[in-house]
Symmetry: C2
Amino acid sequence: MNDNKSTNIIWHDGKVTRDRRSQLMKQKGATLWFTGLSASGKSTIAVEVEEALLEREKVAYRLDGDNIRHGLNRNLGFSADDRHENIRRIGEVSKLFADAGVISLCSFISPYQADRDEVRKIHQEHQIPFIEIFVDCSLDVLEERDPKGLYKKARAGEIKGFTGIDAPYEAPISMELHLRTDQLSLKEECQVVIDYLLENNHL
Amino acid sequence: MNDNKSTNIIWHDGKVTRDRRSQLMKQKGATLWFTGLSASGKSTIAVEVEEALLEREKVAYRLDGDNIRHGLNRNLGFSADDRHENIRRIGEVSKLFADAGVISLCSFISPYQADRDEVRKIHQEHQIPFIEIFVDCSLDVLEERDPKGLYKKARAGEIKGFTGIDAPYEAPISMELHLRTDQLSLKEECQVVIDYLLENNHL
């Protein structure tokens, strides 16, 4: 005979498991959402924050174009609908990671406030911290950096719909953190993020 | 000045991070994929295995209809295409969890071998263990259990395309584990899974 019934009732409550997992991991889940123009330094700061968290024995996981565009979102293109769906799916997955107790680091241009607000809402509905971080750098500096030559191509019209050139970027208004990557060193940026997490009881 | 360049090069290699995260968490990621008919006990055994892993101080996370159908896959219906996409996305997300060092427990009917094979392939491509577990129970017993009255409705033609009644279930052929939930107790089933994980060096 199957003796599962009571166990089933007790353990299907996700919240109980979330708290116990949190105790076991000695950390709480949260999503850090890095938004900003191409080459502004989103992935770079996410990598640095992940390293700083690892040093503090905290488990973090990065979601970025590398592991999303070739996997979960491989069937999405760059139409308006697909861009929206891209961010929505990432937001849902990040919420799951944070629910699992992981500090999830998301680096995506995510140019539209409405999309970022939707992701925030997904987190709020599940009482999971969502920390929007504006990775800000002047266009002048970005066009000078231009590590992949994308701005040059966009200016030449070889790439269409490039955010910041011929597609809009809606800068966050009420973000939790504003990092000026053209004014701070990477170490300084990282410290700002870690300090924020400490001060707000996320670590 | 931004001093990120070398850090960037070193840390963009996901594999290095995976190993370090694994050391920190004292565990390795893997996906346990529970497949079987409705009411066969997929979620029940996943909950029990999660509990057993928590007791061993291992971090597990369950993906199931509750946290997927209302979130990531809320925009999918039950057409053939949508069912395929449903499983594909879950497979991709489970792979990300396992990559993050978490033991991911997926409970989905997932009736088609081709879909399960695709999920296996996604894992293999990233050298992440994929353990297919056939949660098997005779239809007679399932129709007797019928906790939500779904089999009755399907027999009456009130639900169309119900797996096992008027839609096919392709039983796994070369799965890692075969659990007969109409013959074993929940504790026994759980022990089989834990023993498998121990014997195959996943714990």
